[in-house]
Symmetry: C2
């Protein structure tokens, strides 16, 4: 199998970073002219062919599309992947998958492998801290990239994701409408665009309702059931005695409800809990979960479609395509109880 | 990228099946001599190189290993995949993933793509109805296969899976020990080796305890939470009034518990429920799930190790390597209630 010369090979032989090589080959002023020349010479020597936007020039396609996300075991990504897969299947494309677990290096290895395999394109939910150069590495080698779920600043590629700030404000407003005033936000991180947007949506909704924002009510943590389950102890012992929780996602919400139930309280009656995503599981949880539909299937379908269209020569405008979330009201939220606002103080197991 | 000639190309140009081509090239007496010669001639004409056990002769490796399972969104496979991934990572292998959703055709496409990409090996949980020829297609092209979770008759490849019959008998015996006599088996199919073994384990345990086996207590169904949730209505309306359920897996068990709770009953008190697999989620479910540890991480790690060893030249004996399951007793099972054996008759919602 003929191997393409990789940017990393050029980088290694010269002792510079892959990003520097990528920038140099694109004549970026960020790289000193002398280094730029040295890199270009080496690239030529190694037989590296630099094709800017080469995708449009390609005559043959491998039929391989790569997809890389944080963790395919997270059903949020699972539901997106199912939609991507069914769209690609209709087009007889092979899709190959990888997790990056928020390791920029693992993600870069995957992109380089994909280039080596002659991949046609890549759909990715970028790892935390992904430098724009790593996406350009794909693009500049003729392999267009489409982003899902997370944005990266300063990149001209299509991005498909839900409107997180708006979505979380729907959940927060729903709780405020039920009379809750002390509302915690549980799970997640501020290191991703999603995280920052969700926290902002929560803050904005509280402010609009003239409720003071208390940073002590923010309980960050893993975006998993285990994370939600473990946060229950913290949540139930907060001195502010929250009566409701806006959770990062459905997994955290289901875990938190399990933890709350384990402490002898009834979620939906003693404590109101909202999720985010509307996973298939949300409606069969007990109590069924009030949550925000985040359009996973729409994100997956649109991203796959955009990539296939791009490969076929037509161009969807770059930039962010926001999918508008919708509220799904079920049993895990209820009106604030007048007596014993924080009914759980007496029940702790 | 140079493409290998595929068995399917030879098959298509001659109008025969891929399996026939594979058999003919292996001089199988199942293919008529005249057809065999025609196929071999065509293979030569197309430049196909037949390498029996070519893996051991290979001088260069691509570092790519394929993994194909029923559905990566099922956390049972997710946990196996995580173990495979971490083992391959240590060896700097790239792994590419696919679902087959029990489509033999989708699985075959994946194997052929992998051959085209120069894959070093494949780890697979074979689709229902996989003919041995499809595995030989990989093996005969120098890409060794390792099976996980499911067996296929008549194949000389290593298989790593749990001892399903023994595992289910542990769960059934646990319930019998708690005094239960009317025990349903919920979820799953008899179309896989796993399915047949699990049903047999349940039947054997009942017989050993002199409990009559009632086929009406077998509720087959999807191996998902949704499947378990939907089975609750059927389970609760059975005229035999079962007091316990042995579930196909943890997903079915958690779904069933949700359905039972929705009907106003308390799982673990009114109805005892066992799972299978001991997924991460089992211990944080409410009530926490009594289940059988099925060694997913052990299956994944061993399968990856066996493949890497094989690629490195050493040979693990072919055949089935059974991982011994273990009981995990938690809150979802309890002693048979003396009064109102079938306590749920009065509570149905």
């Amino acid at each position: 199998m003929a191997q393409k010369v990789k940017l990393s090979t050029i980088a290694e032989t010269l002792g510079v970073s892959t990003a520097t090589v990528s920038l140099a080959l694109r004549d970026s002023p960020l790289v000193a002219a002398v280094t730029r020349d040295r890199i270009k010479e080496q690239a030529r020597a190694l037989g590296y062919i630099y094709n800017r936007r080469a995708a449009s020039l390609r005559t043959s396609r491998s039929g391989i599309i790569g997809v890389v996300v944080h963790d395919i075991m997270n059903p949020f990504y699972g539901e997106i992947l199912k939609a991507i897969e069914s769209e690609l299947d209709r087009d007889r494309q092979t899709f190959i998958l990888s997790n990056h677990y928020d390791s920029v290096e693992k993600q870069r290895n995957f992109i380089e492998t994909l280039l080596q395999l002659g991949g046609d394109g890549v759909i990715m939910s970028p790892a935390i801290g992904t430098p724009p150069e790593d996406i350009l590495l794909a693009e500049d080698n003729g392999m267009p990239a489409i982003l899902i779920a997370r944005s990266i600043e300063g990149l001209d590629v299509p991005i498909f994701r839900g409107d997180d700030a708006y979505g979380i404000s729907l959940a927060t407003n729903h709780l405020i409408g039920l009379g809750h005033r002390v509302i915690a936000m549980v799970g997640g991180t501020d290191q991703t665009s999603t995280g920052r947007d969700r926290y902002q949506g929560y803050v904005n909704a509280l402010r609009k309702a003239n409720i003071e924002v208390d940073p002590g009510l923010r309980i960050p943590g893993p975006r998993s059931k285990q994370g939600g389950f473990e946060a229950a102890v913290h949540f139930l012992s907060l001195p502010q005695k929250p009566t409701a929780a806006v959770c990062w996602n459905d997994l955290v919400a289901i875990g938190l409800m399990n933890g709350i139930a384990r402490a002898g309280l009834v979620p939906g009656r003693d404590v109101s809990v909202t999720g985010y995503d509307d996973l298939e599981e949300a409606s069969i949880a007990t109590p069924s979960l009030t949550t925000v539909w985040n359009g996973q299937s729409e994100v997956g379908r649109s991203a796959a479609r955009a990539l296939l269209d791009k490969l076929a020569g037509s161009h969807k405008p770059d930039g962010i395509h926001l999918i508008k979330p919708e509220m799904r009201i079920r049993q895990s939220t209820g009106p604030l109880k007048i007596n014993g606002i924080n009914g759980h103080s007496g029940h702790d197991a």
